[in-house]
Structures are given as C-alpha cells and as structure tokens.
C-alpha cells in the first residue's frame, strides 16, 4: 500500500476490514442495490453489448500478491477475488447486507441461531455450491493457526456447533445474540471456496483457483496481471465481457497515462487533481464514488489532554471542515459531522452540522485549564491527503491558541504505531456498516480501538442493539450511541473522500453509487464495452 520522493509510489489500496456482525434483515427485500448505472457516458441508455476484453489497472501489491481470496487486503486483491468468488452476502450502496450466495436467512427469537439457505449456484468446475463448502471456507478463515483478515469478523460464530442441515441449508450457532448477523456474511474477505481448496497446497489458489464468481481463471502472474474469462453458468447470469484483465501499477500517473494511451479501459484510484484535469474534457470518463473514505483526526480519550471531554469538544469546534476538504482532498469529498458512515444505513443524519467556533473553543479550553495547549499530531504519507490535513489543522488550531507539532511517521507501520501510542493522529477508514465501525473500534474489547474509547454503558448499548429484533427500535439504539459519540467521542470526522475512477469512453455500466468495498464497486460482470 508505499512516497515521499514520488507521491504514491506504491500507495497501498485501502484496507477496509469489516467487523463483527450487522444488519438483521429478517426477511430479505430487494436485490443487490442496482440503483442506476453511471450515466455520464451516454445518458445511461444503450443496450448492453456482449464481448470484448476489459483491462483494469489497480494499485497493486507487487510480486507477493496471491489469489487466495481469504488473504485479500488491497483493492487489487478484492477486485480479483470478486471476479472469481462470491460471498454469502455483500454490501449495498448504504452498506446494508444484500443476499448473494445466500438466498435467504432467518433467525430464532433470541437472534443467536440463524438458518441460512443457499441459492442454486455452481463452481467453475461444475460442482454445486453446498453447505459443506461454506462451512469449510469459514473454518479455514477462522483457523487459529492463521491470521486471515476476516477472522475477527467471523468471531461471533461458534463454528464447532454450526452444521449443515441439508445440501443447501446451514444452521449457524452464534456465541451471543447478533441482530446484524448478515453483516458477518458480507464481511470483507469472507469468500466461499470449494471444500478442501488450498488444504494440501495453498499455491493451488494461484495456479488453478476454482470459485463460483462471474469469471473463470485463465492466468495469473503476481504483481503483473491476472486474466479471467466469462463463466457462462454464473448464477446471476453470464457477464457481458468475454475477458477481464486486472493489471497493477503502483504509480497513479502510470495508471492515468495507460488509460489516456488506450492501454487500459479502467483505472482505479485516481487523484482529485487528475480528475479535475480530465472531467468533461471528452477524453475519458471520471466516476466519483461518494462517501468512500472517512477522514478523521483521532483523539486518545484515555490520556491528557483528551481525557477531558471539554478539550475534545474544543477540537471539534476548531476544525474548519470545508477548508480541510478543499485543501487535503482537493475538494473531492464532502464535510463530515464527527460521525462515521454518512449516507449509510442507521446514520444519525438528524444531528446539526458542526461549524467552526473559535471563541467557544477558546472558552472550553480555558475551562479545562488548557489555554496554552501543545499537542503532537502524528501523520504519515500512508494515505492521500494525510500530511496536508495535518498542516491545515495545525494552522486552524493556532487560531484558537493551540500549538500543534506535526510528527511524520513511517507509512509501512503507521496503523500499528498509532493504535496505542501518541495522543492525536490522522485517521481514515474505508466503507463498512456503522455497526462494524462501532464493534471494531469503540467497544472495551475492540481489536483496533484507536480512540481508546472504553465505556461499559456504551458496550451495553451495543449489546442491546444486537439483541433487538425490531429494526426501528434498533435504529433508535444506534442513534443514542451516535449522539454520545457526536457529543464527546474521540473521532473528529471532518470529511468523506470520493474514490475516483477513470474509464475509457467505450466502457458502460460502471455503477457510480457504490462506495469502495461495496458490492457494485469494481463489479466487472455488469460492465460492457460499447
């Protein structure tokens, strides 16, 4: 994910884990959120055509890349995994779980046993997808010897007690009530592989991977290219493209140049400045995926000066959010309101938008006895806009009499470095359900609790939400939790960045309402070449 001499030389794609559990749609409605495709190209009409080969460029992981879907962590990994494999569920545009390989799910009254029924689907070698494959896949991910990314997300499932109830039926037994269990099924990296895949030789994933996804494997050379061919028997209907090639290029300028030079038809993760230069110029199409990346400053609430909630509130009021969005994101994004998940299901949109109020901030700091406050802000070139955001915020804080000392950290170990050390840091997160954000980062036993937010009553609210069957009631509990974070939380969430994609004029059917990491993002089975 790898810049200081050349910005973005191997910028790691966003890793976006999804946490334990979410979304208890007891009866399923709707299909995978097909909410209008990118109509920038030709007004969105035009009948889909079959055929052709699409080449897509992603920032990649170099020679160490693998096609093992359970090891996916970069965008390029996920794009390849999505082509070959399916999950039981996946996220719609509002990050609610949508059924995929699972046709339906039902829970018992206590929400701690879930019956999942699979749809009829086949793997690329013609074998049907069965309950056995699902249980094998989940057990592989949860292997205590391994460190697969989705392991934390599957934690609520008691896999020893869970069992197949038929060819296409699985009863999942959970360790505790989990109303948002469908989120677990949609978790980042929880792909279904055939039974015993990779059991004898993990290298099989790179040489002959078999999945149930819309594309079959043709060839793969790590750090260079992966070629896939349409799988005609795909359960959702065959893709329109004959072939899909995913190539990797760490340099953003190389991806843009390749797109402009006609060497690829789809370029992922472009800079806002690039987008501005080419938007509406007719050479290429620019697609902006809104609300893809939360941008924040993370205050450690367990240590001075941020153990005083008046200081935290003062910092909320110091931020001029629009200036941060304009400066650090070059305007490619929207302002935030100190809450995660703008536009996602359960988002507390009714809270008033915070504005900069330096007088009130000064008064609060004075009350807290922190008038000549000096804070160190950790940042790093690990993500676009981090260093810019730090220097902009430094100037904003100076207006309220706060001295911020910006400290540059190593980008390869940044996330680990800021987890427990320091007091204030730059932070960002990919899209995930609000419930996953809460469970991963804001509970006493959360694995990545960067704000050190540990409150027994807050944990109790989370448990209450997870044992509430009724969706409206559950939304009310999430609302209470969010109001608490809005008032005195540790995340100063100042914006949400667009994720920018460039495509050739011939590419049609690219979904624009799909934050990165959701079902319709990088979904090449719906794309065609006009």
């Amino acid at each position: 994910m790898h810049e200081e001499l050349f910005p973005g030389l191997r910028r790691r794609g966003f890793l976006a884990a999804t946490g334990a559990a979410s979304l208890g749609a007891l009866a399923l409605t709707g299909c995978g959120g097909s909410g209008g495709t990118d109509s920038a190209a030709d007004g969105g009409d035009g009948t889909p055509k079959r055929g052709g080969r699409l080449r897509a460029a992603f920032a990649g992981g170099g020679a160490s890349e693998t096609l093992d879907p359970h090891l996916a962590s970069l965008f390029a990994d996920v794009a390849r995994a999505k082509a070959l494999y399916d999950k039981l569920a996946d996220y719609g545009a509002d990050l609610s779980a949508q059924p995929r390989l699972a046709a339906k799910w039902e829970s018992n009254k206590a929400l701690d046993r879930w019956q999942v029924t699979l749809r009829e689907a086949t793997f690329h070698d013609g074998r049907p997808v069965t309950a056995k494959d699902v249980l094998y896949s989940y057990r592989r991910i949860a292997d205590p010897e391994k460190a697969f990314r989705a392991k934390a997300s599957l934690e609520p499932i008691d896999l020893d007690a869970s069992r197949a109830t038929g060819e296409r039926g699985i009863e999942f037994v959970l360790k505790r009530p989990t109303a948002e269990f469908p989120n677990v099924l949609a978790a980042f990296g929880a792909y279904i592989v055939p039974e015993n895949a990779g059991k004898d030789d993990a290298a099989d994933f790179d040489t002959k991977p078999i999945g149930s996804g819309p594309f079959r494997f043709v060839s793969f050379s790590p750090g260079r290219s992966a070629v896939f061919r349409r799988f005609d028997a795909y359960w959702e209907g065959a893709a329109r493209l004959d072939e899909l090639e995913i190539v990797v290029a760490g340099e953003e300028s190389a991806r843009v140049n390749a797109l402009l030079g006609g060497q690829v038809e789809y370029a992922h993760e472009l800079n806002p400045t690039t987008a501005r230069a080419h938007e509406g110029k007719g050479q290429i199409e620019i697609v902006r995926l809104r609300n893809s990346a939360m941008q924040a400053f993370c205050m450690k609430t367990d240590r001075a000066p941020f153990d005083d909630k008046r200081v935290r509130e003062a910092f909320f009021l110091i931020a001029d959010r629009q200036e941060l969005v304009d400066g650090a994101l070059s305007g490619a994004g929207v302002i935030g309101n100190d809450l995660f998940g703008k536009g996602y299901e359960y988002y507390a949109a009714d809270l008033p938008q915070r504005e900069q109020d330096l007088d009130r901030a000064r008064a609060l700091l004075k009350q807290a006895g922190a008038e000549k406050l000096k804070v160190t802000l950790d940042t790093s070139a690990v993500a676009a806009g981090f260093t810019e955001a730090a220097s902009i915020f430094k100037d904003q804080a100076a207006k309220a009499g706060v001295t911020i000392d910006v400290r540059m950290g190593s980008k390869d170990s940044y996330w680990s470095d800021i987890l427990d050390s320091g007091t204030l840091s730059c932070y960002r997160s990919g899209a995930m359900p609000i419930e996953a954000h809460l469970s991963q980062r804001l509970l006493t036993d959360s694995t990545t609790n960067a704000t050190q937010w540990r409150h027994k009553d807050f944990d109790a609210l989370y448990r209450q939400a997870q044992s509430t069957r009724d969706k409206t009631e559950r939304a009310a509990v999430y609302g209470r939790m969010q109001r608490r974070l809005y008032a005195e939380g540790g995340f100063l969430i100042w914006g949400f960045a667009d994720w920018i994609i460039g495509t050739a004029k011939t590419v049609k059917g690219v979904e624009a309402k799909a934050p990165a990491n959701t079902l319709d993002w990088a979904r090449f089975d719906k794309v065609w070449l006009g």
């Binding site: 020679a63 050379s221 030079g261 996330w415 680990s416």
Partner: protein, 319 residues
C-alpha cells in the same frame, strides 16, 4: 604488465569483493531490521489488531532472535538457497529470476547505446575543442544532466506518448515479454540513458583533450603519423581508462534509475521488487537482492579496473 601480477591483482580484488558483499548484506539486514515495524506489521496494514500481528509473526517465524534468523538465511545461502519470502511464502529465487529479465533488458539496451553515443560525442567534442560543436555538446549534456529522471520521464511521456501518440505511455500489461513490444522500451531507455550519457561524454571529452595535448601525441604528430591514428591509436586508449571505470559506476547508477523508470513505466523488474520488499519488510527478498546487487557491483568494477589497467598500464590503478 605480466600475467602473474594481473592474476594476483584479480585474486586480491575478488577476495576484497567477497568481503565487501558480505558487509553490504549485513548492513542491509541491519538497516531493514532498524526500520520501524516488521513484515507482520506491514502485512496487517490498517487492521493492526495486536493478536493478529502476533499470529502473523508466529506464522512467519519472526519471533525468533535476530541472529538466529540471519544465521538461518546465511546457512541456506551457502547451499545456494535464497530462502522464501515472508509475505507470500514463495521462493526468493523466483522473485529474483522474474525481476531480473526486464531489468537486465533495460540495462543492456542502455549500456549498448551508452557506449557508442558516449564515446562518439566525447571524441567529437574533443576534436573540435572550443569550437561551436564542442560548446553545443557540452552545454546540452550539462542541461540534460541537470534534469532528474522522474521529471524527464514525465516530460517524455507527455510529449511523445500522450500528445503525439507515437509511443505507448507505459509497458502495462506486457509482463516480462517486453521484447515483443519494442515501442514500449523506447522511452524507458531514453530516460535511463539521459544522465549517464552526459557524464560519460564529458569524461571522454576531458580525457581526449588531455591525451591529444600530451607530449606523446605531439611526438607522434611530429613523426607524421596521420591525425586519425594519433586520435584513435595513441590518445583514445589513455582517455578510455577513466571512462571504462566510469562506465562500471554507471551500471550501479542504472539501478537507481531503474527504480524510477520501472515505477513510471510499470516495468516489473528488480527495482519494483526491491521497493515492494522494503515496504513489506520482506527481509529474505531484500537480502537476496542485496547479494545480487553486491556481486554485480563487485564484478563490474573489477572488470572495469582490469580493462583500465590493460589500456593504460602506466596510470597504475590501485588495487
């Protein structure tokens, strides 16, 4: 000079080279270890759950003491085994083999063009010392030398690939089969060539100017030896000695250029492997590359010094 003394010189230099390579490898190992974080932290990325990092560390066997890991790796190397990548578990030898092709191709093409262009222009400038041709060559080489590779690359791509559409902007999707797409090699080689050519031209020119003004060249001219012979048989060999050594240094330098060029044009060679391996703290891969680069540098410099001794024995090259 006698064959025996040359042999002694080569043996002495080879022993020194082995010591130098070992020192480089140890230094690289120490530096990689000194970087913040390790392969487990890098792999965990933005999900730095301490338990998960510990599990990855254990799976990678990173929980062993430093000297033990180094000793293991050195023991494997003694048997010709470069070990396996921490990140992917694939053999390091495969990484080196895959990355070597494109990088070698770039370097070979660059050197193949560098030598005739560098010497040709250098001699041309020296012949017309002080004249307009000399001034043109000198000022252009100085100007090009001052442009960083990255900027030059961006400039060339913008003009020749995007504006004029004469050449492909990157080598994306061509994999290692670059020879089948010669057009994609033009710009990368131009960028690689730019700065070494300038330094070589200036060096050859200076050497030639000195040699042509030397007493033995004047002597040869007084004896009526034709100018061409004086230039190419008497003066050039003496001018070549420092240039040959400069050429060897250039090859080390190509490596730095290659990192930039590979990133810019998406050529999956050793430079790319190195960048990724350092970012991933993939110590065995970094170590393998350090060995390869160390050996290459030692061998090339030794070769250059031997050539220099043959060309100008009186200049006395220090061993």
């Amino acid at each position: 000079m006698s064959g025996a003394s040359l042999r002694a010189f080569v043996v002495r230099r080879l022993l020194l080279g082995v010591a130098q390579t070992v020192a480089v490898v140890l230094l690289v190992f120490a530096l990689t270890e000194a970087l913040p974080g390790d392969a487990a932290v890098a792999l965990a990325g933005d999900q730095p759950d301490p338990e998960r990092i510990a599990a990855i560390r254990e799976a990678m066997r990173l929980d062993r003491p430093v000297h033990e890991r180094l000793a293991d790796w050195a023991f494997g190397l003694a048997h010709g085994d470069f070990g396996t990548s921490l990140t992917s578990g694939r053999p390091v030898a495969g990484y080196l083999a895959d990355g070597f092709g494109p990088t070698l191709l770039l370097a070979a093409l660059t050197v193949a063009l560098l030598v005739p262009i560098g010497f040709g222009l250098g001699v041309l400038a020296a012949r017309h010392e002080g004249g307009p041709v000399d001034r043109l060559i000198s000022s252009v080489t100085l100007a090009v030398y001052a442009v960083p590779e990255f900027a030059l690359g961006v400039l060339l791509v913008t003009v020749f690939a995007l504006k004029l559409a004469w050449l492909p902007p990157t080598a994306l999707g061509y994999g290692t089969d670059l020879l089948a797409h010669p057009a994609a090699l033009v710009l990368p080689v131009l960028v690689l060539l730019a700065r070494p050519v300038c330094s070589l031209v200036r060096l050859v020119r200076a050497g030639m100017v000195d040699a042509l003004a030397s007493p033995y060249a004047a002597h040869a001219r007084r004896y009526g030896v034709p100018g061409v012979r004086v230039r190419y048989a008497h003066a050039l060999p003496n001018a070549l000695a420092p240039a040959a050594q400069q050429l060897a240094r250039t090859v080390d330098w190509l490596l730095c250029g290659v990192i930039v060029v590979e990133a810019l044009f998406v050529i999956p060679g050793l430079g790319t492997v190195l960048l990724n391996a350092v970012a991933e703290r993939d110590v065995p891969v970094v170590q393998g590359l350090a060995v390869v680069f160390g050996v290459l540098t030692v061998v090339l410099n030794l070769g250059a010094d031997v050539v220099a001794r043959r060309l100008a024995p009186r200049a006395g090259v220090a061993a």
